[in-house]
């Protein structure tokens, strides 16, 4: 039997900031829950508003009912605006609140990414998280976020600051380890 060759491990050191966690949470949520994307929610509200507005003409014989679809359309438009503009801020607040409860997540840590797992070591913790335990992995320009770990639900590995060849190797390891559960999100268009 031939032994399968794994790509070499990539080691790095990182200190995660609140911005990193906010970006990672947004990227992960974008693929983990497509129906929760602000664009999808806003589009649903706009469609419902359009349907509601179209019902005004259906109230021809009952003019006293006309304000109802108009009010419903107005509320739905407002809701669309709330989702589109307020959702990123609400998510950031949620992530910051979580980070406030988990000082361990912000400690400087050594990270070793291997073909099947990530090993993290900070001054308080040492953990090994296997890729098979995670539900998905999203790579952005600055970092890699994986969701659903046993020890920490949101695992973040920064690519920022790494030499291009090591960043590419890191990306390759996650892509290799997660295979069909790996996603790429380019630019800052996370919503």
């Amino acid at each position: 039997m031939t032994k399968q060759e794994h790509p070499p491990a990539v080691e790095t050191e990182q200190t995660l900031t609140a911005e990193d966690f906010i970006e990672a949470a947004a990227a992960a949520e974008y693929f983990a829950h497509p129906m929760r994307r602000r664009s999808v929610r806003a589009a649903i509200c706009l469609t419902a508003a359009a349907i509601s507005a179209s019902l005004v003409s259906a109230c021809g014989r009952h003019p006293e009912l006309r304000p109802l679809p108009i009010w419903a359309a107005a509320i739905l438009l407002l809701l669309a605006a709330v989702f589109f503009f307020g959702q990123p801020k609400a998510r950031a607040r949620r992530v910051l609140a979580w980070l406030g409860t988990c000082p361990l997540a912000g400690l400087p840590a050594k990270v070793a990414v291997r073909a099947d797992c990530v090993a993290l070591e900070s001054r308080c913790e040492k953990m090994t998280e296997y890729f098979t335990d995670f539900s998905l992995c999203v790579e952005t320009d600055r970092l890699v976020a994986a969701v659903g770990g046993r020890e920490r639900n949101l695992l973040v590995v920064k690519k920022e600051g790494l030499p291009p060849e090591r960043a590419k190797a890191l990306s390759g390891l996650f892509r290799y380890g997660f295979d069909g559960r790996w996603y790429r999100l380019s630019g800052k268009g996370v919503s």
Binding site: W98, C102, C124, K126, R150
Partner: protein, 182 residues
Amino acid sequence: MEPVSVNFALTRDDCENGAIARLKMMYPGKTLALLRISGFLLFCAGCAMVAVGVLLRQPLAWIGALFAVAGVFIAFFVRPAQEAAVRHMAGEGFDSGRFGTPAQRISFGPEGVSLRSERYEADIPYGMLYAVYSDENVLLLFTASDEWRIVPKRTMDAAGRRRVESLLAERMKQKFFQEGAR
């Protein structure tokens, strides 16, 4: 002071007890009392509507009956239903390995708590823990609001429990919650 150390393997019962303890922490006695009062008020309102509906021969009686049934459910059956759901989910979580490696060693020292398992090792000062919750069956160590570790109390003798609880009460202060001591 000698640290209090426990070695254990988590069982399905421990995971269920841990999940129930978390539910109790999230919905303490005051919330439960408020829920029961709202259920009772809804029941009373429903009964009044039934009485008025019957007297005036209005369909209000049916709506009142629905309110009364909802009130009884809220007052008496919401918590048991929640507990049953939480037990079921915890059991499934244990079967699928979501509670992590069963074999663990946890030490409560004077400065912090030390955790050892196959994939996780930590020495966490008490100040860095989010909270600790204790009930009759388990201790829950929260390393974040959504991350907790179960320490079954069956693994400690009575003296060990007392030492751990007094240590946690002293070090964690406001962040140590004891069932029945709110």
